[in-house]
Symmetry: C2
Subunit: 230 residues, 2 copies
């Protein structure tokens, strides 16, 4: 609770804070000054008690009878999530997806500038994509050091993903966002998050089939995306 003994925010709550943040940024953009847990709950599509409990992990920043202040809460969530600074990203794998992500402004705009992209294919090395030149995966260590990279994004083919991960870890990276549909083997000191688009579709397929079989009176999928393992 107090600043001193930080942490013990449940993982489930941590995963929701970015959603709240996104909504609050929208509110701030439309000059909304305050919000209640009910309002945020409606916008986020969750239960109001959950919103209050989640926000209470940050501290006691609301005012009873009034609500929460938008800008203040934005500040607190950003502080908690470590978003008071930028985190540099390197993309490994300069295929369609890798290049699309390197260009993607959603990364930069949220404080995650892509400072490098590498590949192991000589035909791709040297190409330029949106102000970045594709580097050699062998130079990863130098790139990570020189560009102060914090997070690695893997967009290689499945067979290459593990060695991409190994290279990132060898270069000192401890946070990985993996788009390859494989379970990476990494030391427990490294955080990995998997985004497997095929998995997402397969989960949708399950609930879609359920609707068809049960005459559409089946419940729908939980809005929580979850992939990966461990």
């Amino acid at each position: 609770m107090t600043q001193l003994q930080r942490r013990k925010i449940p993982d489930a709550a941590i995963a929701r804070l970015p959603i709240y943040l996104q909504i609050l940024n929208n509110l701030a953009a439309t000059n909304v000054l305050r919000f209640s847990s009910d309002e945020l709950a409606a916008l986020a599509g969750v239960n109001a008690a959950k919103v209050r409990k989640d926000l209470s992990y940050l501290g006691s920043y609301g005012t009873r009878g009034v609500g929460y202040e938008v800008t203040y809460l934005i500040h607190q969530i950003k502080r908690e999530l470590g978003l008071m600074r930028e985190w540099n990203v390197v993309v490994v794998g300069a295929g369609n997806l890798g290049c699309a992500l390197a260009k993607f402004d959603g990364f930069l705009s949220r404080g995650f500038p892509v400072v490098g992209i590498v590949d192991n294919d000589p035909k791709k090395i040297g190409r330029t994509t949106s102000s970045l030149t594709v580097g050699d995966v062998g130079d990863l260590k130098n790139i990570v050091r020189d560009e102060k990279v914090n997070i690695g994004v893997i967009t290689t083919s499945s067979p290459a993903a593990q060695s991409a991960a190994d290279a990132l870890i060898e270069a000192g990276i401890t946070s990985i966002l993996n788009f390859a549909p494989v379970v990476l083997s990494t030391p427990s000191s490294v955080s990995v998050r998997n985004v497997d688009l095929g998995v997402e579709l397969q989960i949708l397929s399950y609930y879609e089939q359920m609707r068809i079989e049960n005459g559409s009176k089946a419940q729908s999928a939980p809005q929580l995306n979850s992939v990966g393992a461990r």
Copy 2:
């Protein structure tokens, strides 16, 4: 348990089945015939009891003292997930990401052919990307009918995402994969899964910051990706 009163597989288990499937496909490709819950657990990075429990929701398809048969289990998982057939996909939003996804063979190879891509920008309509011509979002209803589309993928900008969702729902789509960083408002009969890349990075950022503050003795992120709300 029995075929009759289908369902009551926990959502958490459903989200893991695609991972198991992916691993089993790899095993099959290397001519492995059988596996034990221990082996699959190691490959998936989960607990063996969890594997057994998850698989038991499908039915009692293992042999004690022996294990499970790879191809048979693949079949059962595919049946359960609704993967005995193809599900057609339409992409709404022909930007970088949308086009990359339309080309992405991970969709087709897993039984989700992209049969159409649309946009609302006249400058993009008519362009061709990997054998698909960008259509007008206004024609969505016809496309969904003619191409028998089952799943809509939203890769528009945030402001356009809700109207894209409305158009998909209006066209009769009940499963949506949303890449725009907004919480879509949809009837509960529609399944939505959100993939918000910014959110994933922000979650990584939290655990990364934790490691920095706590001198790297902090635990790392859960491998479960979770985004979205509701």
